[in-house]
Point group: C2
């Protein structure tokens, strides 16, 4: 009934949606690199700094949640940012389990240098504002769907 070609059609690299998503993400991050290098940051570290530039102080737990990263990834990243001198790590007084991260003056200074990164990256990706909005909408929709449908199906 079904022919062999048709059965395996879905397994072709060209027919995967995730693959260009994966390749595109890596390529964008690669394009970020030279800009971030001037700030002594990696992309992951830049994500942490964006949160701190906005909130000044944040718990490790909040950070893990909003960046979708676990402690195995976050712990060494935070240690490096501490060593670089962009943030401080200290235990919360109310709850000794919580790690409180605070932006340092040195870290705050980098914010003004960072403002030119987003427009440069938008330029580099080569999509229109409309297309970027669509991309933003679709990836967020997929993310929300996967979050609500993973793990805790009781």
């Amino acid at each position: 009934m079904a022919n062999d070609n048709g059965d395996y059609e879905s397994l072709r690299l060209q027919n995967q949606v995730c693959f260009p998503l994966y390749a595109c993400t890596k390529e964008i991050i690669r394009q970020y690199t030279p800009y971030l290098k001037e700030l002594n940051l990696t992309y992951t570290q830049y994500l942490v700094m964006m949160v701190l530039w906005e909130k000044e102080t944040v718990s490790s737990r909040e950070l893990a949640e909003c960046l979708h990263l676990d402690y195995g990834t976050l712990s060494p990243v935070l240690k490096r940012l501490d060593q670089t001198g962009y943030l401080t790590r200290e235990r919360s007084l109310e709850d000794e389990r919580l790690l409180k991260l605070t932006l340092t003056d040195e870290g705050r200074k980098r914010k003004s240098s960072a403002v030119r990164i987003p427009p440069a990256m938008t330029e580099c990706v080569g999509l229109s504002q409309e297309e970027l909005k669509t991309l933003y909408f679709l990836t967020n929709k997929a993310l929300r769907h996967m979050e609500s449908h993973s793990g805790k199906d009781s």
Copy 2:
């Protein structure tokens, strides 16, 4: 003239397009993991296998190009797939620099188990066919733009 809020608006995590792309990619790969574990594959190894399932034999150079991976990533991945017994690595006779990868019977067998992965993943992402097509189009467009505008501007 310009207010401080407006200047830094573009630096907020919520206004980044790359971030949901990055988070979404990681989440999809995480969702792949249990399916791929049954085949003894990681996501990167699965990408290599998809190419081999289609072409039976391929050079390392071609693989690096179509998967957008460099040899630093690819070499150990190929070594592991060799150890698992899904492919063989041998030097090309015509050009000793080239590494020729060939699918083994054991590797070929896994293809029939893999066919149920793509529909399961489509389901899991939670986007319509139309939305997936749009996502595919936009990420490929961005990829092509970045490829043609990076490095060799003479």
